[in-house]
Assembly symmetry: none
Homo-oligomer: 538 residues x 2
Amino acid sequence: MTKDRIYLFDTTLRDGQQTPGIDFSVEDKIAIAKMLDDFGIDYVEGGYPGANPTDTEFFASKRTQNASFVAFGMTKRAGISASNDPGLAGLIQASGDAVCLVAKSWDYHVKVALGCSNEENLDSISGSVQAVIEAGKEAMVDCEHFFDGYKNNRDYALACARTAYEAGARWIVLCDTNGGAQPSEIRETIAALIAEGIPGERLGIHAHNDTGQAVANSLAAVEAGVRQIQGTLNGIGERCGNANLVTLIPTLMLKPHFSDRFETGISLEKLAELTSLSHGFDELLNRSPAAQSPYVGASAFATKAGIHASALLKDPRTYEHVPPESVGNFRKVMVSDQGGKSNFINALKRRGIEVGKSDPKLDKLIAIVKEREATGYAYEGADASFELLAHRTLGRVPEFFSVTSFRVMVERRFNAMGQITTVSEAVVKLVVDGQEMMSVAEGHGPVNALDIALRKDLGVYQSEIADLELVDYKVRILNGGTEAITRVLIESADSDGGRWWTVGVSDNIIDASFQALMDSVVFKLMKNRDLAGRIAAE
Amino acid sequence: MTKDRIYLFDTTLRDGQQTPGIDFSVEDKIAIAKMLDDFGIDYVEGGYPGANPTDTEFFASKRTQNASFVAFGMTKRAGISASNDPGLAGLIQASGDAVCLVAKSWDYHVKVALGCSNEENLDSISGSVQAVIEAGKEAMVDCEHFFDGYKNNRDYALACARTAYEAGARWIVLCDTNGGAQPSEIRETIAALIAEGIPGERLGIHAHNDTGQAVANSLAAVEAGVRQIQGTLNGIGERCGNANLVTLIPTLMLKPHFSDRFETGISLEKLAELTSLSHGFDELLNRSPAAQSPYVGASAFATKAGIHASALLKDPRTYEHVPPESVGNFRKVMVSDQGGKSNFINALKRRGIEVGKSDPKLDKLIAIVKEREATGYAYEGADASFELLAHRTLGRVPEFFSVTSFRVMVERRFNAMGQITTVSEAVVKLVVDGQEMMSVAEGHGPVNALDIALRKDLGVYQSEIADLELVDYKVRILNGGTEAITRVLIESADSDGGRWWTVGVSDNIIDASFQALMDSVVFKLMKNRDLAGRIAAE
């Protein structure tokens, strides 16, 4: 059976740019266009040349190899011909294979926003589409507010779509601009449009996530007959975002409900790079990937529960809706006080630590982890501390150095110039190889001072930790009041690309930080000796 | 026309607890149950009494006033009678109005996970349901893996649902345990079930977000006939999370497609508290609310400068799928700060501070707040600090006392008995009424020591702050590394029942804590003189 082709249209660089807090530079746009192009997306919409200097510069040359490179802009203004509209001329002249023209399809907006007649708007659509085609480019029309327009004036919304179709637009894209349409409404509207003679293979869907259903609306549209989906990487976009292509693509490719009938331009090999595409994009945005993202999140294939975990290990397929490796993600069975014995054995095995099910040391380790988690430790978020604890309980951590004492001081006072100033200073005394060392340092705060002092002179180990870097620091107060228990999580990195989290818990934030800092340094020394760090290096 | 009632079942405290990184204490559970109960949720599932000490303690008494309080657990084991199963007996004896029994409905899992026959599993379902009903409680059955089971062995999945129904279960809840089902599959399966004679008003849906469609799957199930929806606050839950009730509720209540046919137990007045419910829950989890969340996110009604913004200002309704105030959110147009100014005037008015629209001091206050929020202050969560800042900018805060300097020391060392011990000590010098005072105190950590020293001797004001109590303390690191900016929020209370939050921001956590502590004390002195605190007393 031949399958219907679904075309994927990415608007990360145009609608995604409307996300509060996101502003792409030309370099960002070039990098993102390359990621999309390499992955196998059919259309990459680059922005609105002429609307701002960034987009104009970005369209100075074609930025994709395989994907169609699309310029976005408005249809010609009413009352002038297409050839006399400088905005439209700029769009057509910009580098690119296709032009996506946004057109009003709700008569209320034609009146209020454009201030022209319904008939003039239809003329603008047909005239603009023809001008794009005459220039040898592919024309698409984004019908803005299509679903709301259809509810308010069915005939006019239909007329807009029909005008674009008859003028020769390759795609008529139905936009749920305000994002409030429900899947059933989408389905019924598209069925009506197809019944009116506009074929589904010329229709596209552009959904927003204002009711949390941008993905469902896009898939409902595909079921109803459309063959192009517009969306963005990780679902960025105005307000609540656009349809998330990172979620849509694996559903189309891996769920038999869709993959039995449809195909995309993406190969299964490329699909296995989905997680790194998604995380790479977050990296570029300088934000942490969302752990709960469908398919690609760190938690997407993680199991905490004891009752599920043991069955999961017997036969993962019956507890996973798709194989994690198909999207480049992996299975995680987490260490947590809800987990059973098999969780632990599996967790240790992945770290290269073999231990028998009836080994009393295993029971001891489980008891220690449960006891510590009850007092506030969270080993599922502090892999390196868990690994060290396992090694310690099984008796295999060398005593590299020991800290005899530390002292941290924070002083706020007026300085000699009469200004208020706060100074933090830390002193650490430690013994390395029988030799006592003492270091002092100032820092931006007490933890920073302590970190610098601790790593200032580790004697024979000093050169080994030169590339150790502290990259993140999190504090959580576990119950109310300033007398509360404090949990500190620290993320460290080194020049091998390794990253690891350590944890400390105490009623004293400095003490908690110190525990996490110590674990990080010891873990690094273990890792240097290949005694630890299999997971951190993954 | 009478509307069908949709029942809302919250499983934040049970399935939500499966979220990696989330572990509720008994106090957390009590606070969350109260939030859900107050909001008007029909069923609050509290956890699994008997499975762990937290849940057992939580079920020591009934934790809701209006909502049905539900205990979750397994059906009886095969081969013994319901009355001889201690697990089931514990469930039934736990405080609560209803018991939700999880039952396998995929024959493969019956064999692999339970190791019993298909017939024995059906016996466990009917026997357990009957035992719950005989104890005078409402019985529900969660059919685990229902949709996958139905695909693999349709007859057996149906037999499980039918057994629960015929045994008298009030609700048979269809679980998409692995989260991979598509809305069309959900719709067809439920239609078949109803055609087989199990009425929709006895059916519920429990969806997971593994393909980003938990909300859409729940709504598709309602369209197909089910009348109970299970979900969680902010969509927390195992792997990619559960159906997000915060997204589902406004869609059911505000979208005519649903609200014309259905009603919930939540009033429109309560719906206007949805944003604060969602943000309050995130606060409890000590995480920032997601800006792009449907309905309640900070960006959900935000428009960035561009083609939409000017049209939006002409007529907001045509660019907003629902009115933002209906869910307690508000419109943000980022091109104009006019809205900002009237927001400020209203915020000040609520605190009894009158200021004219053209008063230059108002512009100064707005500038200071914007500048400070850009560096990390969050006045939204620190009402008292905002009020003090407003009074200071408008020149009306008496100088009660001034702090000349402070010094905090944390020392970890071996004590005389050879044990490791950590000591925190703080010294504060301050001037009250021209008189210099100096206090020293030890505490559980540096902030606790500083707090005690600061409030140890305030001279003439000392008796006034005797009832001041610090009830909560939160720390958030605003960017990575130990050199990062730290934001501290402190909640204080006094014997009048007043509660207020203050904020401090610095690259030094001690300094940030000191700012928040100072604001708290000054606010208390203002409040005692009726110069501040209208909101705190509310």
